[in-house]
């Protein structure tokens, strides 16, 4: 159904499933259609088992999925991925593929803890993480824009530098790859903000329970500040990209830098701002990740554990749209939360090592099936203005 012959009428109600069908299946390959159909069927079956046969295996899985703690964990785990994904969108839209998001998360996670430890305030810690991540992003920007480095390799270097530097500094300061424990972000109900904190704990007039006690969705009202920052950042990023002059410049810088240059806008400056912005956003995500736990753990792949790379897939899957990126982030984080709950409850006696790989394998499958997104046409290319030199 194209928009031209669409006449609003009383049949709108009937058109809704039709539109949903179009959205899910139209214009897709056989394999994608099949996977979407199977996923839909599986979700429906799971809900049916959950409602009608709660004692069955599928029913118990449904109970795990709908536990309030699962949503809470999903939101918490979404924060670093979503922020890094937003940052990645800005950088890549402007023509700089920032594969070093993982490194930005790592350095921000460590600095967030260190700054909190020194200042005693989680908010200063968050700021410290943002500063560290932005500095590293600045280095990446200079290397890519000024010195025409290969963006992929420079991004890998950013990751490896952070992967070495954070455990190194942790060993210097705390005598081991894991830092000391510091304060964590309080939840909304515990923050003691006059109207809001009372609002979420007081019973609602019609329902009779407090918002925090609502099953499943209650977690939305009892999260830490980073979760609300995440929603705000997604909305702001969407607005900035789609409704402001800066957003148009960023897109033009990635799609047709020459045109932007001709219009009198400095392409290099737009790219610098976009990459620095990706540093700021990833910094919030990384610091929030560490401050949610109150410790930085730096063994092996560190506590960030691939979240920066998952973020890249999240925004590709979300087709560079901040809202889409948030949705796919919630999918990956939801899988991670589910596997954590499965491990903790030991419901099915599944091998934890293999369950842990579910989010990673999903990322690969999603990338293989839906990864054919169109990159900004100048992404990865160096742009040299004719006026330089």
């Amino acid at each position: 159904m194209s928009s031209a012959d669409y006449v609003p009428s009383a049949s709108d109600v009937r058109a809704l499933p039709e539109r949903a069908y179009d959205r899910l299946f139209a214009g897709r390959g056989r394999v994608q259609q099949g996977v979407i159909a199977i996923t839909l069927a599986a979700v429906l079956a799971l809900v049916a088992f959950g409602v009608f046969a709660p004692e069955s295996t599928a029913g118990r899985l449904f109970a795990v999925l709908t536990a309030s703690s699962t949503l809470a964990a999903t939101l918490r785990l979404s924060v670093p991925i979503a922020f890094a994904a937003l940052g990645g969108i800005f950088a890549e839209k402007s023509g700089v593929i920032n594969i070093g998001l993982e490194g930005l998360l790592i350095i921000a996670a460590f600095t967030g803890i260190y700054a909190t430890d020194i200042t005693g305030s989680v908010w200063y810690g968050l700021a410290g993480g943002v500063v560290a991540s932005t500095l590293l992003a600045g280095l990446f920007a200079v290397v890519c824009i000024e010195f025409r480095a290969d963006q992929i390799i420079a991004g890998l270097a950013v990751w490896l530098i952070a992967l070495g530097l954070a455990p190194f500094l942790s060993s210097v300061i705390y005598g081991g790859k894991n830092t000391a424990s510091v304060a964590t972000f309080p939840t909304l109900a515990d923050m003691g903000i006059p109207v809001i904190s009372d609002g979420v704990t007081a019973p609602l007039p019609l329902v009779g329970t407090a918002p925090v006690d609502i099953p499943f969705f209650g977690a939305l009202f009892d999260a830490g500040p980073p979760v609300y920052l995440m929603f705000a950042a997604v909305a702001l990023s969407w607005y900035a990209l789609n409704r402001t002059a800066f957003g148009r410049w960023v897109k033009a810088s990635g799609e047709n830098p020459k045109a932007l240059d001709t219009a009198g806008v400095n392409v290099h400056r737009v790219r610098y701002v976009a990459v620095l912005l990706s540093g700021v956003l990833a910094g919030v995500g990384g610091a929030a990740l560490a401050l949610g736990i109150g410790q930085f753990t730096g063994n092996g792949p560190t506590m960030v554990n691939g979240k920066g790379f998952i973020a890249i897939v999240a925004y590709l899957f979300g087709n560079y749209n901040p809202v889409g990126a948030l949705a796919s982030t919630m999918l990956f984080a939801g899988l991670d939360a589910t596997q954590l709950t499965l491990q903790a409850r030991d419901v099915f006696n599944v091998p934890t090592e293999l369950v842990r790989t579910i989010p990673y394998i999903t990322v690969i499958v999603v990338l293989a099936l839906f990864g054919r997104t169109r990159l900004p046409s100048a992404a990865g290319d160096h742009y040299e203005s004719g006026e330089d030199e």
Binding site: F147, I152, I153, I312, V363, I364, L369
Partner: protein, 429 residues
């Protein structure tokens, strides 16, 4: 034309030759990384606390004040001494090599070098085909796992056969590692070729998956866990399945045979890339994918086969790690795969250059143990150097600009040397 002018011209010509420029860039990148590493060490020395300063920056320095008397006008103490640190890192790795060429520390250096030869050349092969194989780590883990668990069940009945057992078991282990790593490398290759999935992401994800799979199989007694050990590991392999140490002592876990095999593999890969039609297809796909396809190269198949080859080389590295160093399989494999990326980039993705870069990194890895024992500086510093080296090699333009500013080589019509093997390349071009 004066002599200095002529020398300068000759120098300029040399620098313009891409192979030599490559070498200069790698050497400058290394030097710059070491310098910045020293600054980081000094900075870190200010962040920690210690009784007496290990290193003091003063103006005027002690060299002057010892004659003139009095104190320095400005002095700042640091807890770590970068010069002593680099002494431990680079020279410590060689041990007392003049008096005892087979000392334990040098043996460790050789062992590390041997494994880095394989991961380095694995990454280089993929780079040459225009593919970023960040998954050498996962491929090495799979190669090591399969070699370990299969040899554990195959080796004991054969071990009574003496030399004959080694003749059968060593090649078998290498083949097992190659097959496992090759299959694990072909998967992201196929995903890239036929589903357009970015190989950087898929290979990194597969690294995580490989670690989990390895842990799964060796942490359960119904599979391959040694029931008599508290640690997660397989039963030890019999001696017949281990590389013979030849000159070195048995407890140093090093083998000149494995090193020789590694060098032979480097030369083999160099020959393959340079003198065979497969190598030609692989290189043209990396340089000019469109031109390669136009010239009749099956691009998809080249991607899969170069990733399979790359994975197989990393997998052989895993097999050597099991049969030379560990003697069984244990999860928690050191980051040979990531070091392989640096080795390859430092070597300009040239298989023969990998030999030198691997030796350098073998020294760094082995030296970091000396640093851990002999100083307070955390050995994680080597990880920082690894990242810095990649960063600086990735920005040849920086060194060209610096060269233009300080030197007087006028470069006309230069061809930028890309780090991904896209253009330019090593001396073998």
């Amino acid at each position: 034309m004066s002599l200095s002018q002529r020398a300068r011209d000759a120098m300029g010509r040399l620098v313009r030759a891409s192979g030599f420029e490559r070498f200069l860039i790698s050497a400058s990148a290394l030097l710059l990384s070491v310098l910045i590493g020293a600054v980081i060490v000094l900075g870190a020395g200010r962040m920690t606390s210690c009784g007496t300063a290990a290193y003091t920056l003063a103006f005027p320095g002690s060299f002057v004040t010892q004659f003139t008397g009095g104190d320095a006008i400005f002095a700042m103490g640091f807890c770590y001494d970068p010069i002593a640190l680099y002494d431990l890192l680079f020279l410590g790795a060689l041990g007392d090599i003049l008096n005892d060429p087979t000392n334990g520390q040098f043996a460790t250096t050789i062992a590390e070098t041997t494994i880095l030869l394989f991961t380095g050349v694995a990454v280089a092969v993929a780079f040459r085909a225009g593919i970023f194989n960040i998954g050498a780590q996962g491929q090495l883990v799979m190669g090591a796992l399969v070699t370990g668990v299969v040899l554990v069940s195959v080796a004991p009945p054969l071990s009574g056969l003496g030399v004959f057992a080694a003749v059968v078991l060593l090649p078998l282990g290498l083949v097992l590692g190659a097959v496992a790593g090759g299959v694990y490398g072909a998967v992201p290759g196929a995903l890239k070729a036929y589903a357009d999935a970015n190989e950087v992401i898929t290979t990194i994800m597969l690294n995580f998956v490989a670690t989990s799979i390895a842990l799964f199989f060796v942490s359960r007694e119904q599979f391959f866990k040694d029931p008599e050990s508290f640690a997660n590991q397989t039963v030890n392999l019999p001696d017949a399945a281990m590389f013979p140490e030849l000159v070195f002592r048995a407890r140093d876990d090093v083998s000149l045979l494995a090193l020789g095999f590694g060098v032979a593999v480097l030369v083999g890969v160099w020959y393959l890339l340079r003198h065979t039609s497969f190598g030609y297809d692989l290189r043209t796909s990396g340089l000019q994918p469109d031109a390669a396809e136009y010239g009749g190269v099956d691009a998809d198949r080249t991607i899969v086969s170069s990733m399979a080859l790359s994975g197989a080389l990393a997998g052989i590295g895993g097999a050597v790690y099991v049969m030379m160093v560990l003697g069984n399989f244990q999860p928690g494999v050191p980051s040979y795969g990531f070091d392989g990326i640096t080795v390859s980039i430092l070597a300009g993705n040239n298989p023969l250059g990998v030999g030198f870069a691997a030796l350098l990194f073998g020294i760094l890895k082995s030296g970091s143990i000396v640093v851990q024992v002999g100083s307070d500086v955390p050995p994680a510093l080597v990880g920082v150097l690894r990242g810095l080296i990649i960063l600086f090699v990735a920005m040849p333009e920086f060194f060209r600009m610096a060269g233009r500013k300080f030197g007087s080589f006028h470069q006309t019509g230069e061809q930028p040397v890309a780090t991904d093997g896209g253009t330019g390349g090593g001396v073998d071009e």
